[in-house]
């Protein structure tokens, strides 16, 4: 059905748990994304082509072998990882000139408002509570589209995405853009609403754990803490 684009979105998934990597990989594949999984932040940076200086891990340089062919449209990472946390990885990506435009999404099994705000402030596009659901991943398309849009303006590539002209692809369930399963569209329709209406948003905040799964930029949460 619909747009089987030749150039699929390629997502880099980072999680130290084998189990979680298997889950996120399947979720992403089911959402028609190409996936590469790595088990640590440092491996993620390596994959991107950012070399970590052996002596001073705070110094990042771009390796001469940048993976130009592997275009990553989004990085999704677990928050709690040994060594480099997802937050550390987020920072490193956003600090790098070459890769700061890549959208980063953080996942966590713990609902800690301060943690969520910190990640969003550092530039994460979304914060997903685990277990991540298929419906959550539909939120990724708009962010990945933005990077494609950028490439569009840089080189005259022929992509048939007509939605390029719609920069406001927010949470709308636009079937022509987002490949979602009809099943979860019915089940999850009420969960998508919170992003639109203020009333539900408040409700979602109150029932922090149960209803709202992912949290795009909201400032409200810091005031209630």
């Amino acid at each position: 059905m619909g747009m089987e684009t030749e150039s699929q979105f390629h997502v880099l998934a980072v999680d130290d748990s084998l189990f979680d990597r298997k889950m996120i990989e399947r979720l992403l594949q089911k959402s028609s994304c190409q996936v590469t999984t790595v088990d640590s932040g440092s491996k993620a940076l390596e994959f991107l082509g950012l070399r970590v200086d052996d002596e001073d891990p705070n110094v990042l340089s771009t390796s001469p072998h940048i993976h130009q062919e592997v275009e990553i449209n989004l990085i999704i990472t677990d928050y709690c990882m040994p060594g480099m946390t997802g937050y550390d990885l987020l920072k490193k990506v956003k600090e790098s000139a070459a890769f700061k435009s890549i959208p980063v999404v953080i996942m966590s099994s713990e609902n800690v408002p301060a943690r969520i705000s910190r990640c969003l402030e550092e530039g994460a596009e979304e914060f997903f509570l685990k277990p991540v659901k298929l419906a959550d991943l539909t939120k990724l398309k708009p962010h990945m589209m933005k990077t494609k849009l950028k490439k569009e303006s840089e080189k005259p590539a022929k992509e048939e995405e007509s939605e390029v002209s719609k920069p406001e692809i927010k949470e709308e369930e636009d079937p022509s853009v987002i490949e979602i399963l009809p099943l979860h569209q019915e089940l999850e329709s009420e969960k998508l609403e919170p992003l639109m209406s203020g009333g539900n948003k408040r409700k979602a905040m109150e029932e922090v754990i149960s209803t709202d799964r992912s949290r795009p930029k909201y400032n409200d949460i810091t005031t209630s803490v």
Binding site: S17, F19, D20, M23, K30, S109, K130, P131, K133, H184
Partner: protein
Amino acid sequence: MDALITQLQRQFRDYTISLYQQGFLDDQFTELKKLQDDGSPDFVAEVLTLFFEDCVKLISNMARALDQTTGNVDYSKVGASVHQLKGSSSSVGAKRVKALCVSFKDYCDTQNFEGCVRCLQQVDIEYKTLKTKLQDLFNLEKQIIQAGGRVPQVDIN
């Protein structure tokens, strides 16, 4: 043959529903099933296998960490394993196991030895019970397919 298929499908449906109603599974299990398709026909079985292997490993870690004969109990070690088990049980929809992990985590945080030991025993029983039930469910699936039928999509509520 049709009568057999229908009967098996009915059994499958009833059994599935009962697992949800009795709290063994929650809607995350439903989410898991959505990820299975013709391209990944064994996804659920693979994930559950991983999960049950995790259970064995993590429970063994917890037991070792709670072993007082080797010295003081390192509750953070226990907690770390509980945290992992909570995560994976949550991801597969293993409702009871997950609920136990929540209590277990509390006992770890408060360094309540008896509480931890009790939870450890319960979590061991609980994952084994779930494993048996899911095996029964998978067997029903197999029988349906072998009889030439299709495994029904079960609509929970």
